[in-house]
C-alpha cells in the first residue's frame, strides 16, 4: 500500500474514481485527478459543482460532516488517505487549508501563527518560526511592530495573508485554498496571487477560484468542474483537466470553452 504504483514521482495527491456522498446524495462523482508537486492547480467551475467538496476531501476536513461518505481512493505520496490506519488529524498537519473568509483566531498576531506549532509542541525557536512564516506570507514588514495586537485588527487582505502564514507555520507539504481571494479587494488579491508564485517553490498548492483571470494568471494546471442534473439532485464531476493554457486556449470540450469564455456559469 505504501508504495505508489504507476504514479509519476512528481504527483503528490492522486484521486481515483472518488465518489463523494452526503447521506445517499451523490455530490461529486468519478473524481480522477493527479495533483503535481510544486505547482499550482486551480479548480474552476460553476457554483455547486463540488470544487470545495473535493478540496476538503484532500485533508479529510469533510470528516466533520457526519453524513459524508467517500468511495474510491485518494492517495497522498502513494498512501491511501482514507485507509483506516490513517489519523485525519495528522493528515491535516501535512496538508494545510486556507478558507474563503479570512478566519484569524481572536488572539494576537503572534499567537495566531504560533497556534499550530504549539499544537504539536514545536521545540524550535518560536520567534524565529513566527518571523519566517510571516515573511513567507509577505506580511512581516506590515506587522512586525504589532505582533501583540489582535489578528482581527488587520485589514481583510492582511487577515488572509495571516491565515496563509498560519498555515505555513505548520510546515505543511500541501496548501489547499478555498477561494482565498473571494472576500478581498483587487489589490489584496494581486498580493495573494504574487505570494502564490513564491509559495509554489516550497509547497504544492490547490486553489478553488471563481475568478477566471486568477486561474489563468496564477495556476499551472486547471481542472474544470461541471454539474449535471440527475433525478436525485445536482452531481458535480471533473469535465476537463489539463495544463492551464490548454484549458483556456484550446479546451477539448464545448462546456469548458463556454465557461472560460464567460458564456455560462
Amino acid at each position: 500500500m505504501a508504495t505508489s504504483t504507476g504514479v509519476s514521482t512528481s504527483t503528490i495527491i492522486s484521486s481515483k474514481d472518488a465518489n463523494i456522498y452526503y447521506g445517499n446524495f451523490l455530490a461529486v462523482r468519478d473524481v480522477t485527478i493527479d495533483i503535481p508537486k510544486n505547482s499550482i492547480t486551480a479548480f474552476i467551475g460553476p457554483s455547486g459543482c463540488g470544487k470545495s467538496t473535493v478540496l476538503r476531501c484532500f485533508n479529510r476536513l469533510n470528516d466533520l460532516i457526519t453524513s459524508f461518505k467517500m468511495r474510491g481512493s485518494i492517495h497522498y505520496h502513494g498512501q491511501d488517505l482514507y485507509s483506516p490506519e490513517i489519523d485525519p488529524v495528522a493528515v491535516r498537519r501535512q496538508i494545510g487549508m486556507v478558507f474563503q473568509k479570512p478566519n484569524p483566531f481572536p488572539k494576537s498576531i503572534y499567537d495566531n501563527i504560533a497556534f499550530g506549532p504549539r499544537l504539536v509542541k514545536y521545540r524550535g525557536n518560536m520567534d524565529e518560526l513566527v518571523e519566517r512564516s510571516l515573511r513567507g506570507a509577505a506580511l512581516w514588514d506590515e506587522v512586525k511592530d504589532k505582533l501583540r495586537e489582535s489578528g482581527l485588527a488587520l485589514s481583510g487582505g492582511q487577515q488572509q495573508r495571516l491565515c496563509i502564514a498560519r498555515a505555513i507555520a505548520m510546515q505543511p507539504d500541501v496548501i489547499l485554498m478555498d477561494e482565498p481571494c473571494a472576500a478581498l479587494d483587487p489589490i489584496s488579491t494581486l498580493k495573494v496571487e504574487d505570494l502564490l508564485q513564491e509559495l509554489k517553490e516550497k509547497y504544492t498548492i490547490v486553489i478553488v477560484t471563481h475568478n477566471m483571470q486568477q486561474a489563468s494568471r496564477a495556476s499551472d494546471y486547471t481542472a474544470f468542474f461541471n454539474v449535471e442534473q440527475t433525478e436525485r439532485g445536482r452531481t458535480g464531476y471533473i469535465a476537463e483537466c489539463d495544463r492551464t493554457e490548454v484549458i483556456f486556449q484550446n479546451p477539448q470540450q464545448q462546456a469548458t470553452q463556454a465557461y472560460v469564455s464567460g458564456r455560462f456559469g
Binding site: N59, L61, L64, V89, A90, R92, R93, G96, M97, F99, K101, N103, P104, F105, P106, K107, F115, G116, R118, L119, V120, C163, R166, A167, M170
Partner: protein
C-alpha cells in the same frame, strides 16, 4: 423670482395641497397615538427598574444603620438581647455553601455545555439533555431542597454545609448549562474550522479556541447562577439548617444569610428585625458586586 430659468425645479407655493400633505400636523390622530405609545413604553421601562430601587431603598432604610464591622465579627443575638450582635457565622456560611455549590455546578455545567454544543450537537441525545435541563430549571427550589434532604442529609447523617451546597448546585446547574451552551453556539464556525484545518484535535479545538472565545458570556452565566444561589432560602432550610454559633466544619449545620433573614424578620424583636434587614442589604450588595465584577471582566476581554 419666478423668472428662475431652471426647468428642473417645480416651484409650488407652500400653501398648495401637495406641500400641506407633507407638513407636520400635531393634532392628527396618528401623531397623538405615536406620542401616547412613546410615553407608554417609557413608563413601562421605568416600571421595570422601580422594584430594584424600591428594594434597595427599603433594605438601606431598615438595615443601613446597622452596617458596621460588628455584623461580620459578632454572632446572632439571642431573643432577649435588645442591642448589638451580628451575623459573621451566617456570612461565612453563605460563602461556604455557595462556594461548595459553585465547586460542583461550575465545572459540571460548563463540561455539560461543551458536550451539548461541541460533541453531541444536533443529536437526539443532546436535544433531550437540553430539554431536561430546561425542566430542571423550572423545578421549584423547595422541591430541590427536599430532594437534597433525602439524598444527602439522610444518607450522611445530618444537616450540613455540604448538603446545602449540593442543593444550591442543583439549582445553579441548569442556569450554567443553558448560558454556556448559548455562549459556545455564538463562537463562529470558522474558528473551529481554522483550528481543525491546522491539525488540532477535537480537544485542542475546544480548549484552545472555542472555550477562550466563549469565556466572557460563560462568566456572565456563572455570576447569574452564583447570584441566584446566594439568595436561595427554601432549599437551605432542609439542608444546611441553621446554627447560632460558628460552624465547626462543612459537615455541621451551618448558618446562612438567607435563612437568618427568614428567621429574624418574623420575630417580634426590633434588634433581630434590624439584623434581618442588614442581612438583606448584605445579600443584595453581594449579588450586586458579583454582577458588577462579571461586567468588568467581560468588558476587559
Amino acid at each position: 423670482m419666478n423668472s428662475n430659468p431652471s426647468p428642473t425645479i417645480d416651484d409650488v407655493s407652500s400653501t398648495s395641497p401637495l406641500i400641506k400633505r407633507l407638513q407636520r400636523q400635531p393634532s392628527s390622530p396618528r401623531t397623538l397615538f405615536n406620542s401616547f405609545m412613546t410615553g407608554l413604553v417609557f413608563v413601562c421601562a421605568a416600571c421595570a427598574i422601580i422594584p430594584l430601587f424600591a428594594v434597595l431603598w427599603y433594605v438601606i432604610s431598615q438595615g443601613g444603620a446597622r452596617l458596621s464591622t460588628d455584623l461580620f465579627t459578632q454572632l446572632p443575638p439571642a431573643a432577649n438581647v435588645l442591642k448589638g450582635g451580628g451575623f459573621g457565622n451566617a456570612f461565612i456560611g453563605t460563602l461556604t455553601t455557595v462556594g461548595i455549590g459553585s465547586a460542583i455546578a461550575i465545572p459540571c455545567g460548563i463540561l455539560a455545555a461543551i458536550f451539548l454544543s461541541e460533541f453531541a450537537k444536533g443529536t437526539r441525545l443532546a436535544d433531550w439533555i437540553g430539554f431536561l435541563t430546561n425542566v430542571l430549571s423550572g423545578v421549584p427550589s423547595i422541591v430541590v431542597g427536599v430532594f437534597a434532604y433525602s439524598t444527602v442529609v439522610l444518607t450522611t447523617g445530618g444537616f450540613s454545609a455540604v448538603a446545602g451546597g449540593f442543593a444550591l448546585a442543583v439549582l445553579m446547574l441548569p442556569i450554567i448549562v443553558r448560558t454556556a451552551t448559548e455562549a459556545l453556539a455564538l463562537v463562529p464556525q470558522e474558528s473551529r474550522q481554522a483550528a481543525v484545518g491546522l491539525g488540532a484535535t477535537r480537544f485542542q479545538t475546544v480548549a484552545r479556541v472555542v472555550l477562550p472565545a466563549a469565556l466572557p458570556p460563560i462568566l456572565t452565566g456563572v455570576m447569574l447562577a452564583v447570584a441566584r444561589a446566594s439568595g436561595e432560602t427554601a432549599p437551605l432550610i432542609f439542608t444546611a439548617l441553621f446554627k447560632n454559633f460558628w460552624a465547626d466544619g462543612v459537615w455541621e449545620p451551618t448558618a446562612t444569610l438567607s435563612v437568618l433573614v427568614f428567621n429574624f424578620a418574623t420575630t417580634p424583636y426590633k434588634n433581630q428585625q434590624e439584623l434581618a434587614a442588614a442581612g438583606s442589604l448584605i445579600l443584595v450588595l453581594m449579588v450586586l458586586t458579583a454582577s458588577i465584577l462579571s461586567r468588568l471582566v467581560v468588558k476587559r476581554q
